[in-house]
Symmetry: C2
Subunit: 377 residues, 2 copies
């Protein structure tokens, strides 16, 4: 690790960790949630708004940016930071997940994966080396190894995919272009199978990478299976590196994962549900399209300090969503992302104070009790 | 006129007028362009952003708000200013234009117009009295008489419609609910027929209203016909009242209308073309979807002080528009509305300085020369 990519553990409370990960574009205070900017924009928001929410790290998708506008073009404009106007840390995924979830006619072999673009059907191939070159051009602070995300409960598929994922990780590490200013994270796979997960963690640990991600969760397994997998896996990940749970963003999952030692999250959930009119509250998820909000004179959530809650009443946001107005999507997006940033700040506060588990129990009691209530989506 | 609704003519240069119209929610410096917030939001923007653009007046549509969320609901939340969070002047139109352009199965008679909602097919009826009640509930600073907007070149239709428009204007004036804090403007109709226009101006002048609008232009006639109509009509409108050209927002039309004495404009054009990826520049309209912008490292328009031009390169905005990202629509909307606010400020400056006609000729030479060029939409 260079000086840029130092993980400093500041405090541990149970398994929950308070820490800081330094990058060339600034520090990331952990546990951290990264909003997703798939196409070099956190949907509906300006970079200044994302910053104002308290987010320190933004994720962008290699698969999407490789197809459009193209990695060479982004590089010519000085990399993603310049192109999208975000001067904080950026993480790019490897494109693997999207190849397996979005593209057509993918053919995977031990050397890489061939796929058709979801945009125009054109044919492309990702190998570990190709992905390292693309991610170097995009220029994020944290880059991810090419991996294969399997159906989490299919044992035979996971065994075969894991072999490819490990070979690809070795090749990514060997072919990394910019180790001085890009941190390459490995991705632990293995579905819901404890022995495969432990085997994957051990294999990747030997590569001595500056961070480790847990892939292939929150993709179809139950919450209990996800938590059980984390229980087994987390102690096997090097404690002096940040541990990143990919694609998880439900508030209860974040709290449970932090309780098990996870440091980083990203997910499209807060922004995607926002565009469907749904918001996070301490008492569960609520869909603002519901007619009962048409006459609600209160802010979306009492006590919330987000721009939406401090400027508009629920009835107005309901109207905007019903009327399909873009401002409605902006306002729910701002609320949901601020909700998660406030949650992360509270988690950090309670870890620092040694009161994490009390907070966890109180939070989950409020959040999950409401799961059964009428307003929840 | 109450003290609230005083029009002060500060300077005249040729026929172009520099003036101020005072309202209960602040002064409007004229010539002024009002962004359109059809459904109680200027599409894609927050009220703070609209204010930051330099806009002083915002228009909202009575037809849309009457159907959704409903005038009673807006009234319960303290009127449009409170509901949408805009504390500056607001103007509501009468709904007449939308009844004739958007709704189905309208039946007009001397007493009013029956129509079906474009949302759900439900049946509604607007009479002058009903519209005055709706506009009182919405609570805008400037409200408009119910009128009938005819096909501008159909003489017989215009004669019949004009009779209704005049009777309706009298009934609106008689039934106005809040003359102390709402200014009722009359709408001059008559298509492209000079005698009908003059007859309409004379009729409405006798009602001694605090402002006069010119309706039924920019709806299908040629630009030459529009300018000729203004040539005939403008001298017939009371000089001590603001003169409002409804639905006109093309930069060249604004300059030509100001040259003829128009004080106010509104139009969906800048926001609508923005959402199609088109922007105003001093050298004509440009469509950013064009592939030649994929590698353009310059701002949208050199010298522009808008948020978009001061923060992002054209290649990025092009990418956002191609990728159907909402931020792209926000950025083009901000540019176009700022373009018009800057244009209005320059018009006011040149009227004050007595150099209006020089500016007009220079502006039109640049703007219209580019009409023939490749990039224009």
């Amino acid at each position: 690790m260079t000086k840029h990519f130092r993980y400093t553990l500041q405090k541990q409370d149970g398994q929950a960790r308070l820490g800081v990960f330094s990058t060339p574009h600034g520090d990331i205070h952990m546990p951290a949630f990264a909003p997703v900017g798939t196409q070099a924009t956190v949907k509906t928001l300006t970079p200044a708004e994302v910053r104002h929410l308290g987010a320190e790290l933004v994720l962008a998708n290699t698969y999407h940016l490789y197809l459009r506008p193209g990695a060479d073009r982004v590089q010519r404009f000085g990399g993603l930071h310049n192109f999208m106007g975000w001067d904080g840390p950026i993480l790019t995924d490897s494109g693997g997940f999207q190849v397996f979830s979005l593209s057509n006619l993918r053919q995977v072999d031990i050397d890489g994966v061939t796929f058709k673009s979801h945009l125009d059907g054109s044919r492309h191939r990702f190998t570990p080396e190709k992905v390292m070159e693309i991610e170097a051009k995009l220029g994020a602070d944290i880059i991810m190894c090419l991996d294969e995300c399997s159906e989490p409960t299919d044992r035979a598929y996971n065994e075969a995919a894991l072999q490819r994922t490990h070979i690809w990780a070795e090749r990514c590490a060997a072919h990394q272009q910019r180790p001085h200013d890009q941190a390459l994270f490995g991705i632990i796979q293995g579905g819901i199978f404890p022995d495969l997960r432990l085997q994957s963690a051990a294999f990747l640990a030997r590569l001595d990478l500056p961070g480790y991600a847990i892939g292939g969760l929150s993709v179809g397994e139950t919450k209990a299976e996800m938590y059980r997998t984390l229980d087994v896996l987390m102690p096997a990940i090097p404690a002096d590196r940040p541990r990143y749970l990919m694609g998880v963003g439900a508030p209860d999952d974040i709290v449970e994962a932090v309780a098990r030692g996870v440091d980083m999250f990203d997910c499209v959930l807060p922004t995607r549900i926002a565009r469907n009119g749904a918001i996070f509250t301490r008492h569960g998820r609520v869909n603002l399209r519901n007619a009962r909000f048409a006459d609600d004179p209160a802010p979306l959530e009492a006590g919330c300090d987000c721009y939406t809650c401090t400027h508009f009443i629920t009835a107005y946001v309901h109207h905007l969503i019903r009327a399909k107005e873009i401002l409605g999507l902006r306002l729910t997006t701002l609320h949901n992302l601020r909700f998660l940033q406030r949650l992360m700040a509270e988690l950090r506060l309670h870890i620092a104070a040694g009161s994490f588990d009390d907070f966890r129990q109180a939070f989950l009691a409020d959040y999950l009790a409401a799961k059964q209530s009428e307003g929840r989506t």
